[in-house]
Each structure stands twice: as structure tokens, then as C-alpha cells.
């Protein structure tokens, strides 16, 4: 894998408390699943960043290798990979997501 690209991705992940790699932007999502993920985080009310990687195949490939996860969107919270809303929605229902977000936003950005 391109080490420079990997380092840039790592930097991006560490500098956003909630980071979504998706297809399209917050204002103009270009995939139903990315749109759902944006709606999910809008409803939670914490700030989050969406990075559009739709046209960036090298970055998508690098992200898939880093996460061992083939699809978009990919969600990182506090530097850790959490998959997508298929994982996060059940976490929210089980009451696991709110404490994670609370503790994430209590600590200063790394």
C-alpha cells in the first residue's frame, strides 16, 4: 500500500472525532447509505465530518485495506473503526453508542 496515502488517512482519522468516508458530501450525498449515515449522525447531534471518496479509487482501496472492510460508508469514532450504520444502529439501541460519544467529546482532540 502507498505509505504516504496511508499516513494521510491516519492523520485524517486522528483529527476528527467522528469521521465518515462516504460517497458524496454532507450537503449532496451520492449514495443512499451515505445519506442514511449523515441522517444518523445529524440526529445524534455531535459534530462530524464527511469525506467524499467516491472518485478517489486509490484512497478507497487504501481504506479497505486499513479496515478490512469492503464497502462505503466507513465510520471512525475517536480513531477507531466502527463499520457502518448496520453496526452503529444496534449499538445505539443497546445503549452503547451514547456513552462512547460522550466520552469521545469530553476529551480534547488528539
Amino acid at each position: 500500500m502507498n505509505e504516504d496515502l496511508k499516513a494521510r488517512i491516519q492523520d485524517e482519522i486522528e483529527n476528527h472525532k467522528i469521521l465518515v468516508y462516504g460517497k458524496g458530501t454532507k450537503d449532496a450525498p451520492r449514495c443512499g447509505f451515505t445519506m442514511e449515515t449523515i441522517a444518523f449522525f445529524n440526529q445524534l447531534g455531535y459534530p462530524f465530518e464527511v469525506v467524499d471518496v467516491l472518485e478517489d479509487m486509490p484512497k478507497r482501496q487504501a481504506l479497505s485495506e486499513i479496515t478490512d472492510w469492503p464497502t462505503l460508508p466507513k465510520v471512525f469514532i475517536n480513531g477507531t473503526f466502527y463499520g457502518d450504520t448496520d453496526i452503529l444502529e444496534p449499538m445505539l439501541e443497546r445503549g452503547e453508542l451514547q456513552p462512547l460519544l460522550e466520552s469521545t467529546f469530553k476529551t480534547p482532540a488528539r
Binding site: 443512499g32 447509505f33 472492510w69 469492503p70 464497502t71 473503526f81 463499520g83 448496520d86 453496526i87 444496534p90
Partner: protein, 79 residues
């Protein structure tokens, strides 16, 4: 495009006991809601359960027959 029958067959290659429920999300045969129930998920964290299913579907995701799925995974005991 991929049919629910083909999807189920791919999943059962990795998880032979899998009970698979599929509904076509968009009517275009490339975005599905997929629920997989298998003993093979026992002891695995949600991320790893999903990875297992995605690995089984790797071929179809890579060649574009399948664009995306909404995935739910369960073990038989929680039914």
C-alpha cells in the same frame, strides 16, 4: 445484478448452516437488505460477523453485481 438465490449460495459457501432472509431494497437487484442467521457467528464481534459475510460476497462486490447491502447478523439462540 445478482439474484437472492445467488446471494444466498455465496453466503452459504462461507456459512453452510446460514438462514438467509433477503429483500430487494431498490428493485434494481443490486441493493439488498440481508439478514443472516448462523451458528458461525458465535463468539464474534459485530464487525467480524459482517466481515465474514462481506468476504463471502467479495466476488460479487468486486465485479459490480452487488453494490451494497444492509446487513443484519444473528446467532440462532437469540431468535
Amino acid at each position: 445484478m445478482i439474484t437472492p438465490v445467488e446471494l444466498t449460495a455465496l453466503i452459504r459457501r462461507a456459512l453452510p448452516d446460514a438462514h438467509v432472509e433477503i429483500s430487494d431494497r431498490t428493485g434494481t437487484h443490486d441493493h439488498y437488505d440481508v439478514k443472516v442467521i448462523s451458528k458461525g457467528f458465535a463468539g464474534l464481534a459485530p464487525l467480524d460477523r459482517h466481515r465474514l459475510v462481506y468476504k463471502a460476497l467479495d466476488e460479487a462486490l468486486k465485479d459490480g453485481r452487488l453494490h451494497a447491502i444492509e446487513l443484519t447478523t444473528q446467532t440462532p439462540d437469540v431468535m
